[in-house]
Assembly symmetry: C2
Homo-oligomer: 157 residues x 2
């Protein structure tokens, strides 16, 4: 049957048998074009990696963002987040301020420059998504997002 199918240039990442049963493998395979598209539409244009981009978008979309909450939300260890936020602050994309009620806590907010960048990035994400999802119907896209959310939702922390 298809037992002899091998790695084909025509189907670059698609291989047989055991791997096909594993969610992690499919996520990694789906992430290949996603990462490529990210670099093309966002990464090189705005000089941001995925984590930096995600942080800016989350800060733009949520009222009260702290490093602690970000660390949990995107699964980045706190020490690394400190460095990342330092860099974003140096670039004047975000600003950090201390909570008045609990001096241990920081709030992260966008600067005007950061807000402008977020707006500019929002202007190109539709094209990026279209490139990635053009072969899926709207119903399939909605289903895919829901199923991925279901997987993501069931982590402890």
């Amino acid at each position: 049957m298809k037992n002899t199918r091998v790695l084909e240039p025509a189907l670059p990442g698609h291989l047989d048998h055991k791997m096909m049963k594993l969610l992690g493998y499919h996520l990694a395979q789906a992430s290949i074009p996603t990462n490529t598209a990210f670099k093309k539409y966002i990464g090189t244009v705005f000089q941001l990696n995925k984590v930096e981009f995600t942080i800016l978008m989350l800060v733009a979309s949520n009222e009260t963002v702290t490093p602690k909450r970000l660390s949990i939300a995107i699964n980045v260890p706190a020490p690394n987040l400190t460095i990342i936020l330092d860099n974003l602050e140096k670039r004047e994309l975000i600003a950090r301020s201390r909570s008045e009620t609990d001096r241990r806590v920081q709030y992260v907010n966008l600067t005007p420059k950061g807000l402008t960048m977020v707006d500019d990035m929002n202007a190109v994400t539709d094209a990026m998504e279209q490139e990635l999802l053009k072969h899926l119907t709207p119903a399939e896209r909605a289903m895919l997002f829901e199923l991925l959310k279901k997987v993501a939702l069931h982590r402890r922390v």
Copy 2:
């Protein structure tokens, strides 16, 4: 409405608004529990990272595996693959041999020790998948895999 929802410890990775529209974000979020489960069931037990694991499984499941084909399939640059295969060879999990018909080409195969490890890993992947997908019905699991394949299939190389 939900405009004020923020990063909640109860929903660690789930945030509002713009990010929710982006495939890459959902893939990254779904990869958090997947990577955690991988470490627990495979990584620490067998001392393999995801790429090494994937290579062993692909070599086990495909007739003719070469570094060139692996490089394309899993999107790992050739120089890095050389190092990875060197390490797997040092651990006597794989063996490399030259093609007789084209001396540039290498074939990668499992050693008996590598085959034993693959068998041992296959014995635990069901439990790993069950942990990750227990909240999804069989139909949802099948749908998720098909949709991820559709996304992965449409990359150039």
